[in-house]
Structures are given as C-alpha cells and as structure tokens.
Symmetry: C2
Subunit: 200 residues, 2 copies
C-alpha cells in the first residue's frame, strides 16, 4: 500500500508558515507519511480580496497579537524569532527559486526552504536579496544559477501557475495543508491534517 | 494561594466561540482554575476595522473553509452543527441578557450562555428572538424579566462598556482568553491559555 501524502503549502512572507516549516518534516516522518512542499505566493490572492498588504499590517491590533503569539510559540518550541523589517518581506524570488530547487532535488530543495525561513524569521535577514539566496542555495548544495533561472519567463509562469492552483484548491492563507483532498489552514491544524491522513 | 482565573471572552455570533463554550467549563475544572465568562459584541470592533459583516461573509473562500473546519471539529467532538440562517445571527439581545444573568447567578448564567450556543449552532435557531431567549432563561432557572431589563439603558450601556473593555484589552476576535494578562485568540489557543495559567 502506498504511503499517504501530506501537501504543505507555504508562503515565504508568512510567520506561521515559519512555524510549520520548522517541524513538518519530522512530523511527517514520525507519522510515516510522505511530504510534498508547495511554495506559493499570497500577494495575488490577498489582492483579489482587496488587501494591499499583510492583514497583520492592515489590522494592527491583530498584527500586535500575532507577534506576541509568535513570540510565545517560538519560545515554547525553542525557535529564534526576529521580526524582519520590512514586514512582510517580498518572498517572490525565494519562491521562484524554491520551485526550481524542489524540482531539481526534493531533499536539497526542502533544506533550502527551511534555510530561507531561518534566515528571515530567525535572523531577520532580507530574503528579497539575491546574495542571501545564493548563500542559502550554496549551503543546501544547490547551484547558484537557479537565481538567474528564477528571473526567466518559465520560472515566473511556474509561480503564477502555483498561485492559480492554490486558488483552485480554495487556499486563502498560509500555511495550508492538504490531506486526502481536505484543506487544513494554519500551523495549529498540522496535527489535524496528519490525523486525517492516518485515519482509515 | 488563590486559584488563577481564566477569562473567556465570547461573542454569540461566533462559530468558534461555540466550540469553546462547549468545553471551557470542564477544561477549567480539570485544570483547577477559576473561570469568568465575558460576553461581548464584535460588531463595533469589526466596524472600526471597516468590516460591515462577518469576515466569513466578506471573504467567502475563507467562509467556506470555516464551515468545513467547524464540521470536522464538531464531528471530532461529538457536537451537533447546524448553520444558522442568517449567518451571522444578531447576538446583541442574547449578550445583554447574558451580562445580566451572569451578574445575578454565575452558574445559571453560564448554563444560559451554553444553551444559547446549543440552540444557535446545534439546532440552527434564531437567537435574536426574545421568545427563544425566554425559553432558554426558563431552562436555566433564570427569570424571564431579564429580557425586559436587557432593553433598558443600563443594560445597553453595560454591553457598550464590555466592548470598550475588550478594545482596551486588544481583543479583535472571538473567542479570546485572557490568562495572567496575556491574550490568547481562538478555540485552538484554549489549551495554551490554561497552560500559561498553570505555569509557575
């Protein structure tokens, strides 16, 4: 019998995606399920809802709560947290590169993805900076020329296709998980998504 | 040493507040913490954010997800779920009565609150209907004249004061929990709020 697959949809600008990216591999492994990484981009999805920035900036009281909630959760999980400036970071380059990296080598691609989150939210670095991306690719054993490829039409279209796929799936935020066709939204639904995959 | 207190802030129109209302008493009891019930009203808070309805209506993709998420969670917890029509229900009368009921008798007031949620989301009944509220008050051993009192200036002001208090506390959604001055938002943070109260 084939192992069920957990689909992990993430946006690099998303704080709660950081939480999931840092634990999803171990959780999938412990549960005996396969894991697929799906970088996407919330910008066009938020824009279609009339949002011009992160909802955490548009609704500052909610934003203040989110940072406090993140601080508590990161402390509980032993994760560093540095608020990047600006927030949200522009994660488009990182996402285009992630699609290429994951297609080339799933394990190295996953290592690159987690390294982007660690740099962004653990160290407060600028993930829109190609020099940072080159450094992270090198650390993950991936070629720096993915950055140049990410500027090409095919890579741009690949990310647009991913956004269209996300909208077709009914995704509206990140992280989101898909388990046997069911959408689970938020780091706090990761356990539910895995339980759904394991249920007979 | 006095027992710590969990403050449970809820809005009658809120689906996820239903989930918490149905489990918060047992969880507080099991954890050995006191519980205070705080009915409030999100209308003016949402309005201040530019929202004219529930965000689940304003953002239909998110709304469709919420109902699916609620259906799964209610099934897991053995709770009935009927989508009330219209959604959101107008919970202002129910909330004004709840403030009076809780002030008169905390235990009966709590029984009334959970009965409102059960009628609304377990049976799809109209909680803006004074006849339903009278029925629920009677079931909880509370006098029906609380409904008339709820139409008075003092009761109206009491709910406005509660909304102002919520805004001062930085609340922006429901359910919210306050534990040792820390805000926790959402039914999925109830365990975290209790853990925070119990931490030394």
């Amino acid at each position: 019998m084939s192992r069920p697959t957990l689909h992990f949809w993430f946006e690099f600008a998303s704080t709660y995606s950081y939480l999931s990216a840092m634990r999803v591999e171990k959780m999938a492994e412990d549960a005996g399920v396969d894991l697929e990484w799906h970088p996407f981009w919330l910008g066009p999805i938020f824009h279609a809802q009339g949002w011009t920035s992160s909802p955490f900036n548009l609704y500052p009281v909610k934003g203040a709560y989110m940072w406090r909630d993140m601080a508590r959760l990161c402390a509980d999980r032993g994760l560093p947290l540095v608020q990047p400036d600006p927030f949200p970071q522009n994660g488009v380059l990182a996402a285009r590169v992630a699609l290429l990296a994951l297609a080339q080598d799933a394990a190295k691609g996953a290592a690159y993805v987690t390294s982007v989150y660690r740099a962004e939210f653990g160290e407060g670095r600028q993930i829109s900076d190609p020099e940072l991306i080159a450094e992270l690719l090198a650390q993950s054993g991936l070629p720096a020329d993915l950055i140049e490829q990410a500027g090409g039409d095919a890579a741009k279209q690949a990310l647009k296709d991913k956004v269209a796929e996300a909208m077709d799936l009914g995704l509206f935020g990140a992280p989101s998980f898909i388990a046997k066709g069911e959408v689970f939204w938020g780091d706090d639904r990761l356990e539910n998504a895995i339980a759904h995959l394991k249920a007979v």
